[in-house]
């Protein structure tokens, strides 16, 4: 289901905080059905880019075309319809603390898909199980859970409406290695079956090597390189070289190769 047709086109994006520019003339495409990994040093504006695309932040200049429409210029009704086709997993989960997990996941199902509460909660429990949570977690509140469980529940909420584009902000940070590997596998399985696109901000090199189709490197206020992992890793740039060919990068690469050739 992969194709070169872009679902999201970012053109000439400029983001400034006061006098400090985070992005200058940044271009990026996200194609249908691909998993795009976004990497960059701390403070290079990965999360800001995500927020600009999702429409949570008004960029200082440039355009963000989502499914061929400019999200920020649409009337609220139409914009809400488009936003329904997004699933966003925020860095710290951002679960609603006044609702239990099951209600957190059921909320978009009730509000947008118009399901009855009982149906929505049944489906919500399925999604929670899919994200790898035990059944008795469904009635717990977010402040009773560990960070990793909050991440899983947040993924279940992001997946609730079967989005066409899934935005993940450091999904495997704070997960144990087994959980992180299962998480990667789940994203891959769902992408293959449902054909959604994934915009994945991550520092996890294992995730990059295992599931990403393309990798975009944010540096020097723009997208320095975007291509398959091998092509990006071969780019002649100090930061990229250190990132992919440093000790951790090599270890992740070796691990990925061992997976492919058992």
């Amino acid at each position: 289901m992969k194709s070169d047709e872009p679902v999201i086109q970012v053109r000439g994006l400029v983001n400034r905080f006061g006098s400090q520019a985070v992005h200058v003339n940044l271009d990026l495409d996200i194609r249908r059905g691909e998993i795009l990994g976004v990497v960059g040093g701390s403070g290079t504006g990965k999360s800001v880019l995500l927020r600009s695309i999702v429409g949570l932040r008004q960029p200082n200049a440039g355009s963000v075309m989502v499914f061929g429409e400019n999200l920020l210029k649409l009337p609220p009704q139409r914009r809400s319809e488009i936003e329904r086709r997004f699933g966003v997993l925020f860095q710290r989960g951002a679960l609603f603390t006044s609702l239990n997990l099951q209600e957190n996941v059921a909320l978009p199902l009730i509000e947008h898909a118009g399901l009855k509460r009982s149906d929505a909660e049944f489906l919500a429990r399925q999604k929670l199980a899919l994200a790898g949570l035990p059944p008795d977690a469904a009635c717990k509140y977010p402040d009773e859970l560990s960070g990793g469980m909050v991440k899983r529940a947040a993924l279940a909420r992001a997946l609730a409406l079967d989005p066409e584009v899934l935005f993940l902000d450091e999904p495997t940070a704070g997960l144990d290695p087994i959980g992180a590997a299962a998480f990667d596998q789940l994203i891959l399985t769902l992408r293959d079956a449902l054909g959604f696109s994934v915009f994945l901000v991550t520092h996890d090199l294992d995730t990059l090597y295992t599931i990403c189709d393309r990798v975009a490197v944010l540096a020097q206020k723009r997208v320095l390189a975007v291509d398959t992992l091998e092509a990006v890793a071969a780019t002649d740039d100090d930061w990229i070289r250190e990132y992919f060919h440093g000790p951790r990068g090599r270890a992740a690469q070796d691990a990925a190769q061992m997976l492919e050739t058992p």
């Binding site: 199902l109 898909a113 049944f122 999604k127 899919l130 059944p135 008795d136 402040d143």
Partner: protein, 383 residues
């Protein structure tokens, strides 16, 4: 995934014939859009489904996780595990999706919380609330003790005084509150003067309006209004600030660095309130009396000069001191209650909200309660 052309998913049962076994045909789009209808259909079909029955997936259209979940529900994990035997034509990615869902859902159902009866719940709730009230007062006393202890320790060690933080809090709680305190007491002063004039006019004693305004503002209203305003404005701010810090684990970080949150967070706030509330009380008394003065001058023909004359002649300084003496007590209570409620908040946004509300309610309650007790005391003492 266009929704306009979506064919609703359906189940169709073909009874057994000579040539083949009974068949269940699964067709159409199994998506979230048709979820409610599909779920009731699945519930029904699941009870009738026998192990020998043949399943037909040729006409299956769109499939998302919601629909796949229903299919797993319908077919059961055992049949899904043998998926590539009876449905080899199903694309591998869909098989993977069904396998993933089946393994996720193949877990014992969660145990339900035990049933309780209504009366016991009510009694338990009453008991819980009473015990909570008692505990709240005990914690408050403990917290006051802790604050005073830390205050004493820090007092003799000038290197641990946090002047910057203190100054910032004085600005926030004191300076920024001056306009609202002044305006409010001015208005109440005017209202009291009007009330006094209306009642006293019947006795031909409108001149005593001056005494009424001065007496009430010096002894009670100046300090009471300032304290209630700060209870609403500052206690809530303290509770919310500290509550949010707690939610963000900042309090734990302070402890882990080896510092005392009481010294760092509570003392500057308490001291700032101890300094600002008396000043605000003074401002409140002044502007309340000015409110009375304006009404007297405009509506009662009592000139400002005459107003001040009466003030000087009839009102002794002791009234002012009685009023002002209460300010530090109120200040201490408001600050301590605000901070304590902040510390009690847990990680959730709702909890921060609840404790912020509670800090305002408690501190206003305490201010009025202590003011009433103090009024009785001062009356008996003849001050």
């Amino acid at each position: 995934m266009s929704q306009s052309t979506s064919r609703p998913g359906h189940l169709q049962r073909q009874p057994a014939s000579d040539s083949q076994a009974a068949t269940l045909v699964i067709g159409g789009d199994w998506t979230l859009l048709h979820y409610a209808a599909l779920r009731s259909e699945v519930e029904q079909a699941r009870r009738q489904l026998s192990d020998e029955e043949h399943i037909e997936l040729h006409t299956l259209g769109e499939l998302d996780t919601a629909g796949a979940g229903l299919l797993v529900e319908l077919l059961g994990p055992a049949r899904i595990a043998r998926l590539n035997e009876w449905a080899p034509q199903l694309p591998p990615e869909r098989q993977a999706l069904l396998h993933t869902l089946a393994s996720a859902m193949d877990q014992p159902p969660a145990s339900l919380p035990p049933q309780t009866n209504g009366l016991a719940d009510v009694l338990a709730h009453i008991g819980g609330t009473l015990a909570g009230l008692w505990n709240q007062q005990r914690t408050l006393l403990g917290f006051i003790g802790l604050t005073l202890q830390t205050l004493l320790l820090v007092l003799f060690n000038p290197r641990r005084w946090r002047i910057t933080s203190l100054a910032a809090h004085i600005e926030q709680t004191g300076l920024d509150a001056i306009p609202i305190v002044a305006l409010l007491t001015f208005l109440v002063g005017a209202v009291v003067a009007f009330l006094g004039a209306t009642v006293l006019a019947d006795f031909g004693a409108t001149i005593y309006t001056v005494n009424l305004v001065a007496f009430s503002f010096l002894r009670e209203f100046g300090v009471l209004l300032a304290a209630i305003l700060l209870a609403g404005r500052t206690a809530s701010a303290f509770a919310a600030q500290i509550g949010a810090m707690k939610a963000n684990e900042e309090i734990d970080a302070i402890r882990a660095i080896g510092l005392s949150p009481i010294e760092l967070l509570v003392l500057p706030r308490v001291l700032a309130m101890l300094i600002t509330l008396p000043i605000l009380t003074f401002i409140g008394m002044l502007s309340g009396i000015i409110g009375g003065l304006v009404v007297c001058a405009l509506a009662l023909d009592i000139s400002p000069a005459m107003f001040f004359n009466i003030l000087q002649r009839d009102i002794s300084i002791s009234h002012f001191l009685v009023g002002l003496a209460k300010a530090p007590v109120f200040a201490f209570l408001i600050a301590v209650i605000g901070c304590l409620e902040g510390f009690k908040a847990s990680g959730s946004a709702q909890s921060v909200g609840e404790h912020t509300t509670s800090s305002v309610v408690q501190s206003i309650f305490m201010v009025i309660l202590i003011d009433a007790v103090a009024a009785l005391f001062f009356m008996e003492m003849g001050w």
